[in-house]
Amino acid sequence: MIINHPLLGPRDAQEFTYLGDAGLMNRPYWLSETALQQFHDYLYLRKNPAGEHRELWFHEQGDRSWLVVTRNTTTHEILRVELARDVALANKAANTSQEPQQ
């Protein structure tokens, strides 16, 4: 598989390590009333779809950036690649009103 890195261009997937569902970027709020259940779901439960999957890849043998790769798990086709940092900042901007920061 070739991952089209937003900064470095097309790179062999072998340069990366894989973490899993990009939902892992959204840690639950630790002081929430339901934190225990939320952390259980966050850490252990997965949607694990057949089809489009947003997932985290780490460019270990390269610039050591984290990427959010949107990939089809039935064909291995890569549909979109974003810097995880950009995704996190966009998430934060969308969520600031909802949960207090630590």
Partner: protein, 416 residues
């Protein structure tokens, strides 16, 4: 039809005209007491034991393709009872005991071959771990022997003993482990279940679960609606997709594991060798092909085929252990989709939906579990209580803190 040596000779002398199909190609009826989803080894074994041991009434196995087309027909056929943890080892020992009597029980030649499994040791730390595991196995009624390097050399003189990175210092030998002809397991259970009245319905994909007021009423399929008293799900790599039909998310990710077979060679590997340090394991089939595998491809996949970097990786570690492998030609490679769980251990449990039961999360080790998984799942379906060897396989164990993590890897399915 009962199989026997006499019958075989009779057929051989009369042109093999008397053989009959081993199971009926059943059409779905309107309703069953038990519907098992998934005609893999586990689903067929569940139906068999349900009918045989637990007096199940009307039973159907629904398979979206043909039986044996999933992982039961794609694995590297290794059976063993060499686990460390209490939640696991009694279950796998129960399974191995069922294997030991399987052919008599099914009246079917599944080529169960207890040729022994050797886990190689390369360091003091690995020897300590192997000794501890061996003791745990023995305590649970299994067998284990610790070998030194000479003991390994006597069995497999052709291994690369003096590799700079992973010199071989010994091994943990589990003599009762071995291999089984995987397709024959699917066929043998299918025949046994069919003989006891189970309907095996192929080309019947489950596309929906009909659930009302927290109770399952039946399943929607590509061949119409089928009512069910109880529904048992046993679909291996497709577990998350199936349970999503009941709005459940599971502690499972689907990953592809590849396997390989070489051209046929004269017999030179009598048992199974596993090389944990190099991520490689190998045995030789009765036809002479070397059957081997290594790591999973590491990312979520439902593709049933892997990528080339892992092929290279597996072959490299294989040749580093068995230099002679470099002379053999690779005949085939293939992939299967596995339900990798968050602690590397499986589930045999009820769900919060009445009448809906789940068996899955078997990772790359569910073939050896086939008899016990079928038996224990049937036990649960019939009695609503877990079998005594499968009490730890609960879906809520991550919430209660009772993980069964043999490797201590944590919630990272691709590392188990």
């Amino acid at each position: 039809m009962r199989y026997s040596a006499f019958g075989l000779i009779k057929e051989a002398l009369s042109g093999h005209k008397g053989w009959r199909p081993q199971w009926r190609d059943a059409a779905p009826q309107a309703a069953y007491d038990y519907v098992i989803i998934g005609g893999g080894g586990h689903g067929l074994a569940t139906a068999y034991y349900l009918a045989k041991e637990f007096g199940g009434a009307r039973i159907a196995v629904l398979e979206k393709g043909w039986i044996g087309g999933g992982n039961v027909g794609r694995n590297t056929t290794i059976i063993r009872s060499n686990y460390l943890l209490d939640g696991n080892e009694p279950f796998y020992e129960f399974s191995l005991k069922l294997w030991e009597n399987l052919e008599q029980d099914l009246n079917y030649n599944a080529m169960v071959s207890q040729r022994g499994i050797l886990n190689l040791i390369h360091s003091d730390a690995q020897r300590d771990a192997a000794r501890r595991r061996g003791n745990a196995m023995i305590l649970n009624g299994s067998d284990a022997e610790l070998l030194d390097a000479d003991g390994v050399r006597a069995m497999y003189p052709f291994l690369n003993f003096d590799d700079a990175r992973f010199p071989i210092k010994g091994g943990l030998l589990h003599r009762r482990g071995g291999t089984v002809r995987h397709d024959a397991v699917a066929w043998g259970y299918a025949r046994g279940a069919d003989l006891r009245g189970v309907d095996i319905i192929q080309n019947c994909e489950v596309t929906g679960l009909r659930i009302e007021s927290g109770k399952v009423l039946g399943v929607e399929t590509s061949r119409g609606y089928i009512g069910a008293g109880k529904v048992g799900v046993s679909v291996a790599g497709n577990s998350s997709r199936l349970m999503a039909l009941a709005d459940m998310r599971l502690p499972i990710e689907s990953h592809v594991l590849q396997a390989f077979v070489s051209e046929g060679l004269k017999p030179f590997i009598p048992g199974v060798i596993t090389y944990g340090a190099g991520h490689f394991y190998c045995s030789q089939s009765d036809k002479g092909g070397l059957v081997f595998g290594g790591d999973i491809d590491m990312y979520n996949s439902y593709a049933q085929r892997g990528n080339l970097p892992v092929v290279e990786d597996v072959v490299e570690s294989g040749i580093s252990l068995i230099p002679a492998l470099g002379r053999a030609r690779l005949l085939r490679s293939w992939g299967g989709i596995m339900d990798m769980s968050m602690d590397g251990s499986p589930f045999i449990d009820k769900t919060h939906i009445e009448g809906l039961y789940f068996n899955g999360g078997w990772c790359y080790g569910g073939f050896k579990a086939t008899p016990a998984a079928g038996y224990c799942f049937a036990h649960l379906l019939k009695t609503d209580r877990p079998h005594e060897t499968a009490t730890a396989y609960r879906l809520d164990r991550f919430m209660s803190g009772h993980m069964i993590d043999e490797k201590g890897q944590g919630a990272q399915p691709n590392l188990h």
